[in-house]
Symmetry: C2
């Protein structure tokens, strides 16, 4: 069985060996891959005091794994959750913590708070934490478009939070972008920097994890019911079947016919790239995949860029690996990206529907829980040190 | 269990009732839906003599269901297959047929041959059948781009085969377009006719059925292994896991970095619409869905078209139903399209990345085996009568 929740694995595992083999055959490899080895986070008296709001959720649990893997230094760690989950025990770095209820006093004498407990919790407790001198890295959408709140992908725009450092005596909020925005911009920022992007048309293939651990569990349960009993019985999260099906993203629909997920990509990209001079159209679709998003991205460039140059600069971008092996028809898949730090880019090719070298097509996969959420937030926290 | 092969069902069934309910709430409904009722094909002395090449395959079996459902008239029916499958019994219209081996004499005294036995069989036996005065409706790609061979979607370009009629004393080949092309053009032809399309950017979400009954069986088997035993054991059709995964279409890769499936959409669209004056870029992706394709389509129009007008003309197009219910976030899903005649269009909206009313986005789902293959071929055969 592949577990969902505390340790959400996927079909990914089944093809890790094939991935490794194929990566060696890829035409271009990135030198930027971080070695994902289980280590111990650095508990040190000099480290910041860290608390996690929403620790029992899928992203909260991933925070812990990422903090460990990245040797994140800390002197104190506090696990926070809703009153419903308070009291649960959480293991971290060889110690057992009892989850405390998130209250106004939770942030007293804390340096960093990683939030992933939903927008309303962030809205209520984020400013309280800041008032107490704490830096909040918020995974919700609550403050993403708030003026003065940096919206940061560390590989893309670390300069947006350059004046934020622990020990400055001040606190502040840094927003984590939406998962599909992060993954799109990991694939395209090198191109934006090099030649400028005029227009971006994105179609997403989004995993269940973006809808939370319960959606992952429902997808798994429905699928089990269908293959074993021939019919879907469990429909609690979505009103339609998810197993062997796909559907337009469940985010609320706006007046212009785009859902919020799609508009996040439009607005957040402009803020992160600090430009209004780009046109974006997104179609966000949920597919029956567990935890890695994929995106088909069509670009209109401001200046010419050859396919070869595009491949080179994308591969050199930190946190990106190429899987672009035409000879073996081997390109990024969710199973490559699941449980991995990097985003994987492939299908890089000149867009034959645009003149000259002004159009480019590519395909990207990234882990929604990791780079799309927890890992990006921990990387942001690292910039605070 | 949901069966694969002779009767490839899907998760579709689980949401048919919800579909019906939602369709009543949809803002625009098509009056063109064909009533899918199981009837008996019309065996009549005046009917054509029909044979089916590749009757034991997924599309071959669907030919039989579609012929029945559409009351297709016939005076004689012959079931053909490879020597390996010859001798198998096939039920049709209350009679039992013994499958015969496909040979050069198979087409003697036949009027219509429906082919779905692969490109090499079509190439070898198609011209033989024509020589004997038989009309061949070929589901393979063998003759699609051959000059003089009409490539026909009956709702789109019936005029291409206007001079082909049974009783003319001549035979001929009519090619069935590729599934993803058919489904894209069912959604967009009304727009092409009304204002002209300058550029089309397509990202597909393609079902297992396009890779054949064995791929469907492998997807089901892998999924069962994964949810029941936690690991994928069966990998015979694709070298990577398909369950809870997706991947770039397995069609052969061309020198320009596009796979054949993508280039089919480019070339076939130009032939079907009888124009070179359109630019197309496609990204074809296989998703873990059984038998209905989905496509995200971004259009640049030659002339202005409002969202409302687009919705109206798409809904009026024969063989298309709208599911475009923003209030309930209810749009086309593979489970809507599976086992259905119509293609379902939704997410119709102005493209906010293009100026004025020159850009349009939409999402379409269609049954790959039915409208994408067998049904379209039988509709072509109807035009021969």
């Amino acid at each position: 069985m592949f577990s969902v929740g505390a340790s959400p694995n996927t079909a990914a595992r089944t093809s890790v060996s094939s991935l490794k083999k194929t990566k060696q055959n890829s035409r271009v490899k990135s030198g930027s891959r971080r070695n994902v080895v289980q280590t111990f986070a650095k508990k040190t008296p000099d480290g910041p005091r860290v608390c996690i709001a929403g620790v029992t959720g899928a992203v909260g649990q991933e925070f812990l794994r990422v903090l460990k893997q990245r040797d994140f230094p800390y002197s104190e760690m506090k696990m926070l959750a809703s009153s419903r989950s308070a009291g649960k025990e959480v293991e971290f770095d060889g110690e057992t913590y009892t989850t405390e209820e998130l209250t106004e006093t939770s942030f007293d004498n804390m340096d960093i708070a990683l939030f992933s407990a939903g927008g309303s919790i962030s809205k209520k407790f984020g400013p309280i934490a800041v008032e107490k001198g704490c830096y909040v890295v918020d995974n919700s959408s609550a403050f993403r478009m708030t003026e003065g709140v940096p919206l940061v992908i560390p590989e893309v725009n670390p300069e947006a939070m350059a004046d934020m450092k622990i020990g400055s005596g001040k606190g502040g909020i840094i927003a984590n972008p939406n998962c599909s925005t992060i993954i799109a911009l990991m694939a395209t920022t090198a191109i934006q920097r090099k030649v400028g992007i005029e227009r971006m048309v994105v179609s997403t293939y989004q995993a269940a994890s973006g809808a939370g651990a319960q959606a992952m569990a429902e997808l798994e349960q429905q699928t089990r019911e269908l293959v074993n009993d021939g019919e879907v019985k469990t429909k609690e999260i979505f009103p339609w079947g998810y197993a062997f099906n796909l559907f337009s993203h469940n985010a609320p629909m706006m007046d212009n016919g785009y859902n919020e997920e799609e508009m996040k990509m439009v607005k957040e990209t402009k803020k992160i790239w600090n430009t209004d001079d780009i046109s974006i159209c997104a179609t966000c679709i949920r597919v029956p995949v567990m935890r890695a998003h994929a995106e088909s991205i069509n670009l209109t460039l401001k200046n010419d860029l050859s396919e070869e140059e595009a491949r080179k600069i994308i591969s050199e971008f930190p946190g990106v690996s190429l899987i672009d092996d035409r000879a073996n028809n081997r390109f990024p898949m969710p199973s490559d990206a699941s449980d991995q730090d990097d985003c994987f880019v492939g299908r890089i090719r000149r867009d034959i529907s645009q003149k000259g070298n002004k159009g480019l097509e590519l395909f990207v996969c990234g882990d929604q829980i990791r780079k799309g959420a927890a890992q990006n937030a921990v990387q942001v926290a690292e910039l605070l040190l």
